[in-house]
Amino acid sequence: MMKNNPLPNIYDQAKSERRQTRTSSIFERELVMSALGRSLVMLDPRAMVKNPVMFVTEAGAVLTTLIAVLNATTGALHQNYTVAVMVILWLTVMFSNFAEALAEARGKAQTDSLKRTRQNTVARRVKDGKEESVSSDELREGDRVIVLTGETIPGDGEVVEGAAMVDESAITGESAPVVREAGGDRSGVVGGTRVLSDHIVVRISVSAGNSFLDKMIALVEGAIRQKTPNELALTVTLAGLTLAFLLVTGTLWPIGKYFGITLPVPTLVALLVCLIPTTIGALLSAIGIAGMDRALSANVLAKSGKAVELAGDIDTLLLDKTGTITIGNRQATDYFPLPGISRERLATVAMKASFGDQTPEGKSIIILAEKMLGIRGAEDGAGTVVQFSAQTRMSGIDFPDGQSLRKGAPDTLINYCKHLGGNVSEQMQGLVDDVARKGMTPIAVADGKELLGVIALSDILKPGISLRFARLRAMGLRVVMVTGDNPLTAAAIAAQAGVDDYIAEARPEDKLAYIRKEQQGGRLLAMMGDGTNDAPALAQADIGVAMNSGTQAAKEAGNMVDLDSDPTKLIEIIEIGKQLLMTRGALTTFSIANDVAKYFAIIPAMFVLAIPGLAVLNIMHLATPESAILSSLIFNAIIIPLLIPIAIKGVKYRPMGADATLRKNLIIYGFGGVVVPFAGIKLIDMLIALTGLV
């Protein structure tokens, strides 16, 4: 039945390519070339008008070009200077387009490798009981397809029949195959992954071209990109500042008339472009796209840019205990017998009761008992295993001689023994509480109708997790642990891990209620979930991240999908959101702070002929008025490509409190923004003086 398939190479290749784009330098040759091409196309004013700052710059460039052409025909003075201003203005616009195109190209490189996993495959569609072969891109929502061993799943959907091992490494990078089966919370499959064993019937849940991946690709490539709320507010602010500087420079012309001078239009345009926040205006789109890119690098598909931005505002994190705060499963660590019962008896009964239990917890009970009793490879004999079920909430074994052993939740077992007419020791509840208070989960053990004592299952915290929570708290985030444990155990683990709150014995509706309560208080919440019954909570949460392994319902409800199904990803997503906003704020501050030096360069240069005393203000001792203006304009232009790495990678981010972060960024980008251009403009001026151009 196993078909040998030479395909895996494609997946490995795709994966390593994606890794490469994450680590590669920002200005990779291929990306740069494609970005350069696109930045020319983007000069279209209809596209530019969405970015008011750069639109004004382009208008200035057009105006200066007209004047240069006019001057060429009349043979006016200062033609070199006018042409130089014109060239730099066009370069400024190009740099801006280039930054955006480069961020797009990088995102595209990442999506391309994801896209490769979903090349067209032939799908076996079941229609009216008959199987037919269709191309995967003809599949529509609701279609049922059969996928056999070795075949690629043709689209996103849900397993409705059968179970199979699926290799999802192409998407997640995780090499171990996972089980996907009909019913339950592990029914979701993703197009492009491969069935390794058995066959399944999949109900396609999204029509071709509408999958999360398709949406993400469209978002990154700009086809459906919309400005996020904060991006819009910043655009308005930048437009307002642009208008203000238009006013400042526009009024200088008539004021010049009062002093008897006619200011040349190229000079006024140069002053205007230097003053308006071109640096942030040019990089704003790139910053937004780069935020999406970073989410994608973290293997998170966001349904919108808005969701990524919102992640920075999250106040409360709901984290599942298992797998996030503690390592996988609990381990049996001790036996606590009731008075009058020997430890050995308790251990033996617990061991026997666990023979049919294949869960890691069950196995750990056997291992612990073997260690205590000094035996190896105990035989289960000829008992009948009683499986755990959600209804009975206990499991065990029945032997032919009538011995009936059970283990399970303490309250269940107490009731069970009482029901059988057994005597329940008063000390049992105390024992259970003692164990729970220590942060361990008590499992009661009974032999027939007699309670023997308690097995203690312990959680093992992930290394470094409490440190990580401390950092989150410094950033102002509350961490809430969600667990099925009883309140006493939950409280103890919560204290150990250092979370702020916990929801014990949590059912999905408890999560939902908790989220609603927090939101009433104005907090924003993020959570991760996988099951169908998580869907309402995922939809209610401000950031709902569905695991890729989860059900379709969960994925529909959330606003992000984590391809790795890694519960600690939430923390990373929040950091991406915060970094996005910080980068915007930092570059805006830098952009505005730059204006001080530009004023000192340009204002004396403009008026020094009419008012010779103004030469005193030329504190940078720039060579000539023309070179002063050109130097400022050149600095203004080249700072854009120089800052592309910061725009794309984001400002350095360390988790700390708001005040500390602000102080650090203000010093670097505010103070730095005032000082750097003085040095830069002076340097460029010296170079211009050397070339003797003007």
């Binding site: 507010a233 208008l243 203000a244 006013l247 003053l275 920075g312 505002d313 509350r478 910080m582 004396p604």
Partner: protein, 556 residues
Amino acid sequence: MLLLFLLVLIVPVLLSWPLGYAMARVIEPGRGSGFGRLTSGVFSKVGGLAAVEEQEWQRYLFSMIMFNVVMFVFVTIILALQQWLPLNPDAKGPLEASLIFNIAASFVTNTNLQHYSGEVSMSYFSQLFGLMWLQFVSAATGLSALAALARALGGKKTVGNFYSDLMRTTCFVLLPLALLVALLLLAGGVPMTLDGAVIAHTLENATQTIVRGPVAALEAIKQLGTNGGGWFGPNSAHPFENPSFFTNMVACISIVLIPMAAVWMFGRITGRMRDAVVIFSVMMALLVLKCGAVIWLEGAPAPALAGLPVEVVSNLEGKELRFGYGAGALWAAMTTATSNGSVNCMHDSLNPLTALVPLAGMWMNVVFGGVGVGLINMFIFIIVGVFICGMMVGRTPEYFGRKVETREMTLALLALLVHPALILGGTALFAATPAGAGTVLNSGAHGFTEILYEFTSAAANNGSGFEGLGDNTVSWNIATGMVMLLARYIPIILPLAIAGSLSEKKPVPVTAGTLRTDTLLFGLIILGSVVFIGALLFLPVAVLGPVADHLTVNMH
């Protein structure tokens, strides 16, 4: 000199604290207050439900604008008919139409730019029931607007009742304070009479007409309400308005007292005293800086006298010698920090670089600023600072627990643009045309400063004149009249709209990740935002005006 400096700066700070408390209690009496119930009872009897019921910000603004329109029309009528109205012992004649418009606009907007000389043109009736009346209610309008802003920022859906606020501030804040100050001025020798001018026969056997009137009453509210419009043309340089060092001191303190107390009132109404302390400190730092700068710069001799035998250590040109250069310069700083606009020396005669200080004060217009409106202006700078710097902490920026988003920023930027648009636009228009260039008494940079100052003063609703300008022309009257009206109401309407929009949002709880607005660091951000935005918008004209003037004059 140092004593004067300290007295004028520290006394009002000390007095402002209890006054701010009292103002908050008067305007926001609280449910249990007997005063509140009593006044509400009286107001509702007189004005019906409309005078007491809670209003949303839109209705509050509407009431405010309506009231101001009525006042504008009322005073226009008084001024136009003054020759036929009573209380005109010196038989003042009719006023020119564009001047009437200018005066009405000037006084209804709390500006008090005066293109006339009161003692020459105005009847007692016009001065008292036209102008002085507006000096009370325009100041009360500003305080009411601030109270409404504070309530909205405090999270209330309704922002109070304009008529109640107006009545309470006028009757229980401004009137008692004005009475007290008027008595002090009276004791200091300021005249108070309804009799007409006195004819005196001098020793040289010449006749001299000595104009007088109920000056002390007007003088008190002129200073307290950041109005600045004096009884006489020379304003507080006139010996009847400001006879002695004592009255000068009383006036100086009155200039900043209510603007300072308004910050504390804001803190009490919003329940955020720590924020108020930060805002107060920023304003105080700027005020000390301004006062220090003028005294230092005026300490240099006038450039025209430099090197001549008559040179003295400080610039005494245009100063009242009974006050000296220090009290004159200090007054210039304080009157332009607040939007008062009264003067006790000629600003035209200040050293060229000194003139930059009053100008900068009016450009920022937030160094305590006009009664109520100074803090409203500051609110715009705070919102812009919060937005840009707030992003740097990695969250959507928020102020008082509410997110600052596109709507707020659109309004804030518009509000920010009004001031420079009116100043730069007006200056450019008048500098390039005979309307302005033909009226200046000096050429070059100094003449330019005269035009720039006039528009700045009108747009800042300050009202002080640089002078050296033939400003009683139809074009100046209409242009500055329009500027004053636009510069008064747009910067009240837009901030209130922002606060209203913020109040509709769900408050976000404060965490360690929140940008705190009550810290020293945030104080520096506000300071930076005011200085930076001010500098970037006005640096070119500052260089072409006072700086070029200074450099040109000192080249010889």
